[in-house]
């Protein structure tokens, strides 16, 4: 059972981080610690990396992203749903630059286990639907897609994101 102050500290860290991101879109770890009134030790114990902190801050957004997939699958064929979902990811990534960092597999975090968090599972679902439909290559894993999506984290790729997604998605399709 975690201590009460530890819980509130963690919550305050996330809250402060969200505020910082809204105002400056920068996220210096030591600034977060100072603003939250905790030491760096506490900050790093709760969130070992900046990505972990971002993941918590954007968890609601990630959840929404995850939730949109089944909805898309219900309304469209698998290929279209997949394509639309990728567009959703790109849109989120452009608005909130941190989202993509949040869904990236941490070092040694994703390679060992097969699942790369909720996002990985959703991609797997979309891939499975596409495979069943015959529109998506059978040799594509969620890990592959995640890796290919890595370009979204590059700053240079703000605008042509949809175009690049087009190329990537074209590559995932059967021919």
């Amino acid at each position: 059972m975690p201590r009460a102050d530890a819980v509130s500290n963690r919550a305050r860290i996330v809250e402060v981080a969200r505020d910082l991101l809204n105002s400056t879109s920068e996220l210096p770890m030591n600034a977060v610690a100072k603003a939250a009134g905790v030491g760096q030790g506490t900050l790093y114990r709760n969130f070992a990396t900046r990505e972990a902190l971002l993941a918590e801050v954007y968890r609601a957004d990630v959840d929404q992203l995850v939730a949109s997939a089944p909805q898309l699958l219900a309304e469209h064929d698998a290929a279209t749903a997949f394509r639309r979902w990728l567009d959703n990811v790109a849109d989120y990534a452009r608005v909130k630059r941190g989202v993509l960092a949040a869904l990236e597999p941490g070092p040694g975090h994703a390679l060992a286990a097969g699942h790369s968090g909720p996002i990985g599972e959703v991609i797997e679902v979309l891939l499975a639907a596409g495979r069943a439909e015959g529109s998506i290559r059978a040799d594509v894993s969620a890990q592959d897609v995640l890796l290919l999506l890595g370009f979204l984290s590059r700053e240079e790729a703000a605008e042509p994101a949809h175009h690049l997604l087009d190329l990537i998605f074209n590559g995932l399709r059967t021919r």
Copy 2:
């Protein structure tokens, strides 16, 4: 006309950096400066970023990579040549982890001008050949390819590189 000592300093910096990479595969900038017997100021003036230094160290390798493209185009059809060339890139990237950093477009360096250095030009040549042949999509730019190749810089992508290249190349092809 640059000063004589400046020239030798620059050469020694590159030499030292190469040695460091061969022994530790790490490249701390201040370590390079100290080992080369120059101040950090000198180092950063000659090479504004670590990438610039890596680019110089691996220039010979990059040149070889660039030279292999026309050769491949002479021996195979454009699509095959392009595919083989991508494999070459992946092989280089796996052996010398720094090569990929060397060919990446620096911030604001590649977006403005159309050319992203020699690598960008080679890719453009391969793309043009593929377009003429009708096997490569017309809406693909060298910049796109460079961005998509960005996954090579991720550590996690050491082994499945060829598979991912397969997916990417599949995306570049016409259908």
